[in-house]
Symmetry: C2
Subunit: 192 residues, 2 copies
Amino acid sequence: MTDPSPKPTRAQQRRRTEEDILVAARQMFAELGYERTTIRAVARAAGVDPGLVMHYYGSKDELFSRATRHSADELPAGTAEEVAEALLASLARRLDGEPVASLAVLRSMLTNADAADRYRAAGEPQLSRIAAAIPTADAELRAGLLGAIVHGVIIERYLLRLGGLAGASPEQIVDLLRPCFQLLAAATPGRR
Amino acid sequence: MTDPSPKPTRAQQRRRTEEDILVAARQMFAELGYERTTIRAVARAAGVDPGLVMHYYGSKDELFSRATRHSADELPAGTAEEVAEALLASLARRLDGEPVASLAVLRSMLTNADAADRYRAAGEPQLSRIAAAIPTADAELRAGLLGAIVHGVIIERYLLRLGGLAGASPEQIVDLLRPCFQLLAAATPGRR
DNA sequence: CGCCTCAGTCAACAGCCGTAGAATGAACGG
DNA sequence: CCGTTCATTCTACGGCTGTTGACTGAGGCG
């Protein structure tokens, strides 16, 4: 078998360093947000020289862009009830272990235009899927509310760490939210 | 009658200038967040010298603190249904014309510890009120979810200006949310 | 072995920031 | 009318930031 430890080739070492930088950057962007994260601090956390970060990624903007590029779950098409359930499942997955790259976007989206755009770009196709499945005239608003709830919960759990939400289990949260989602996705909720 | 225009006394002029600075600061903190708002820019917007801002408020932190000091609505005690309805009414009020001071806190809370504390301090008593009115064992979690929904909606409407929510009327939003709030506040929601 | 490529380092610059303190000049009180 | 207060301005300092370009030294290869 090939021994992986003794002599990493130059290209391997380079890829490893680039990845180290990206990991450190994701972590810091997620914890501090875009503005308070400095290239010097990222470099220190990755154990390299600040100039190297610039050399590989060109600018802080580009570093943020590369660090936060990630794929969101796709929602299947289907009936409103099915889409609501799929959204709940997606939320449950994110509720234990939201990806750091996604947290970095959420942390920065209120103070950085790029992050806000990235947030919109990631959420829009999902919102369209949801809206398409809701049969009422206010489908877009209902989809917007569902998105607001999902992100409100993630923000308070992971970014603000509020007691009531940070302590609960994903299943508990999802179970409480399920009837709300069904109601918002359903055609005409019963009056009263 | 006293003519208010011709010669403002020195104390009047001072109060007016202080207020101008506070208004400009609130606006900029709400639009840009804490870190991207500079004392120089606030001074320019208020039409005064940057040194004056320091002279009156001592530091940027203190300026932020003074600019974001405002009173939140109080929620009345009562049954779970009543508290849920009061929370909806509070949301409706905030949905047309959220106060700028409050937007400044929301905009900055993800990247500034003081803002996060201020957010927690403003929301906690309300959450306690809600939790106290909910008769189930998971009352605190339910209250946390209600808070997350309220703030998620306000963030997407005013800070991110997402189409589905920014365009809707407060009544529309509140009407859609009412059954959800009742469900979350009610004792045991019907299964299914 | 000897050259070249290239991962990684170092030192420096220009700009912006919060902040401090001296200077100015007009309103006030006696 | 004169001395004092005080709202306001001006200038400057030190620190941190993103970014640049020259430099170093070891791996890859003929």
